[in-house]
Symmetry: C2
Subunit: 460 residues, 2 copies
């Protein structure tokens, strides 16, 4: 017998039956908190019987508390092509083929409505159940490469992803999406930029700041945008695809080496620093903002360079910093240190002797700025020139996080001072840029008219 109430139980099931509403039915629901129209989604295994999950037109899934429901009416019913859970995705001849790699993290989490806790549970396959539009964008297949929280991602995962990307390109895939928790998404984007070079296709990292079962989730929209970028976009780089403005008109594609998470909870958390984002992306197309991107190619040539030295660290400058910290790092065997220095790339005099000792012992020390925006200018003051004389190398406008990843990658290949320096100072994909555009310090967030009008120019 057909199950029209997939996953619903108790009170929630009773409400559905009362109003003759079914899973996958297009329903109009009146509640004490407003009226909603959307498709009732199936529930995955859980004990909640107090909510009905509705996919509304904007792409969001919202959980409606059944206690607030005053009326429901099924306006339409289309038998779904999708089953939850897993991997039954309608294949359409001639459509772009996209691979989704699952890694864990918020995009693959769901909310337990009783406890309010976030449970990392959705497999990538289950995501389709929530975002049927994906089937109109591409032929999607998935692979759970591993399942770790974003903050536990590290070299092992970067290398596994780099190799998995290589294999998919070999097989002829048109684009790759990597679903990833947002906390260290920018680190992974940088690692993959360095480890997977000469990409012929788009590699799009995507996350969500609000989990898929939440009313304001950005998971579905970000995933659709990522599928457009991976399956149809012309930009063959490692990119981050996330919520752009505070409205849901478009997302941004950020270059993997110039992006950083800038707000702990906002959906528009990812920002390109010191440059404009690569492009906007909506449910139909990618609209480049920058013109100097790498184009999609037909060949399958790609270089996988899976190197990573684990004894690299970041020193985040603060007043009164003492040399004992540097000495301790050297004693622990650290081979590379990225300093996030003050304004133009300085630290206090007290640490100079320790830096000198570290460099004499072969430690590679690079300077970035903790202001996040702007360039090191170590030649301006005597103090900066002193640091350079000690052997500290400035990295211009490389973001400290990206410098950390790159130094680990460089030291994974060689210990030679000059070679490491050459690798560090030669940008692979704009991790250092010659200049900042006049609007490189702008917010690129919705609600700021100048940004909106700037973006609009590129979205005709």
């Amino acid at each position: 017998m057909k199950d029209f109430f997939q996953g619903y139980k108790g009170d929630a099931l009773a409400i559905l039956k009362k109003y003759k509403s079914r899973v996958w039915g297009l329903n109009h629901i009146e509640t004490t908190r407003g009226e909603f129209t959307g498709t009732i989604l199936p529930r995955a295994e859980n004990d909640d019987d107090q909510h009905i999950v509705l996919k509304i037109e904007t792409g969001y899934n919202i959980g409606i508390n059944i206690k607030t429901i005053t009326n429901m009416e099924e306006k339409d019913y289309k038998e779904a092509n999708y089953k939850v859970p897993e991997k039954e995705f309608p294949y359409k001849e001639g459509q772009a083929s996209v691979k989704l790699f699952g890694t864990g993290g918020t995009i693959a989490s769901r909310l337990d409505y009783r406890t309010g806790a976030v449970i990392p549970a959705f497999s990538p396959g289950e995501l389709y159940g929530s975002v049927p539009e994906l089937a109109d964008i591409c032929n999607l297949t998935t692979e759970k490469v591993f399942a770790v929280f974003s903050e536990n991602m590290g070299p092992q995962q970067y290398i596994a992803l780099a190799k998995a990307i290589g294999k998919e390109i070999e097989k002829g895939i048109d684009g790759i999406i990597i679903a990833h928790g947002t906390d260290t998404l920018h680190h992974t984007a940088a690692a993959l930029t360095f480890m997977v070079q000469n990409l012929p296709i788009p590699v799009v990292l995507v996350g969500s700041q609000r989990s898929s079962d939440r009313p304001s989730s950005d998971a579905a929209l970000n995933l659709m945008h990522a599928a457009i970028a991976a399956g149809h976009g012309d930009i063959a780089e490692v990119m981050v695809c996330m919520f752009g403005p505070t409205s849901d008109e478009y997302g941004f594609l950020h270059r993997g080496t110039r992006v950083r998470k800038m707000h702990s909870s906002y959906r528009s958390t990812f920002r390109t620093l010191g440059d404009t984002p690569l492009a906007t992306v909506d449910r139909h197309k990618v609209s480049p903002i920058k013109s100097d991107y790498k184009h999609r190619r037909k060949d399958k040539n790609v270089s996988i360079l899976p190197y990573f030295e684990e004894k690299v660290t970041i020193i985040y400058y603060y007043p009164n910093m003492q040399g004992d910290i540097i000495d301790a790092l050297v004693n622990c065997g650290y081979k590379g240190i990225v300093i996030a220095g003050t304004g133009l790339g300085h630290v206090n005099k007290d640490v100079y002797p320790a830096l000198k000792r570290a460099i004499e012992k072969g430690v590679h020390i690079y300077m970035t700025v903790q202001t996040m925006w702007g360039y090191t200018h170590m030649f301006v003051y005597d103090t900066g020139r002193d640091l350079m004389a000690l052997g500290v190398v400035p990295l211009d406008n490389m973001i400290p996080e990206i410098a950390y990843i790159k130094l680990a990658w460089a030291l994974g290949q060689t210990d030679d001072r000059d070679e490491v320096k050459l690798i560090m100072q030669t940008p692979i994909n704009d991790e250092i840029t010659k200049r900042e555009p006049y609007n490189g310090y702008l917010l690129y967030q919705g609600g700021v008219p100048e940004v909106e009008s700037f973006v609009k120019k590129f979205r005709k």
Copy 2:
């Protein structure tokens, strides 16, 4: 005999004589790079004879290369009330009395035009020579408390400043300006907020991103704004006064606990994070944006709390962080650690055991977010709850830099876990706020119309 060419020599002196132009004369100068009108300023001791320094109407000093000059004409001449160097400041009966503390740093630097090097040389007294408008704002006296570069500021300087502020309040001063290099200006602002409580008068930290002799210097304007805020403003808090927009219409006053340097070279580098700035300030008045500030009082009551534990540090999270770093810090005797964690306040599992060991040895560990904007939300994921169970204490939306200063200040007073926690979690002046305003993620920089129109509301 009167010296009409103070400090000018060689070619520059010859040009002045040729066109019969004098120091303090209002001149119109035609050059191959445009026309300029302004007052010719005296030069301090230096060997440059290739530039004439002109104060133009916007308050900037510009250096004009004499090779570009095609014509000069003295339109007006007013004998100056000021002498360079030092402390001859016209006293006006009934005007607000303001004390300027010099500390070193860029506002007290000048450019050597031959070598391009910045020389930290101007004494606070010399600044008046460049900014005569100060005399119309307040009766200014100065004191060079010390002279160190911004990056070498530390507890010794914070404590000296706190005590100097206490003494000036005792003497009945109306307001205090602290001239400070920009690199660690926000750290000093936080330290003084905690060390000088119950302030009856404004304490205004001011810097400049471009040194006083440079064409685009913000030194004069920032100093005038600071004098208005210190002498006439009603906000009796520790504040940072810096360039607001990219035009020179107004500056911002930032609360000392919510401000951070965000660009290595832009003049609009200081931003209030997670809140609106306190106020705008122009050459005439302070216009509050926030209404919940502390008002100027007539009494002289103030609490000087000059505490600082030097064994406090910041750990800036990155993927693959290893526990050996935490262990090494404990072995070095560090008593307090502020973690700048990922998104909602996390670190990777690998460091948990080391954090546990550190806490068992009595180290105080506090969590902030490296996104800079937004709150820790350690209860969302199991991992966050695990960290809290270990004894890591979340600090909501306290900025990592501010948390470092506050923890050092707290541990300077007590080692008691609960007392330290109480101090840390009880905001002294909004270093933790209950919520972020809807526009707390905005840029507050010029050229963004929404910000401009928001600010305009408060500047009638």
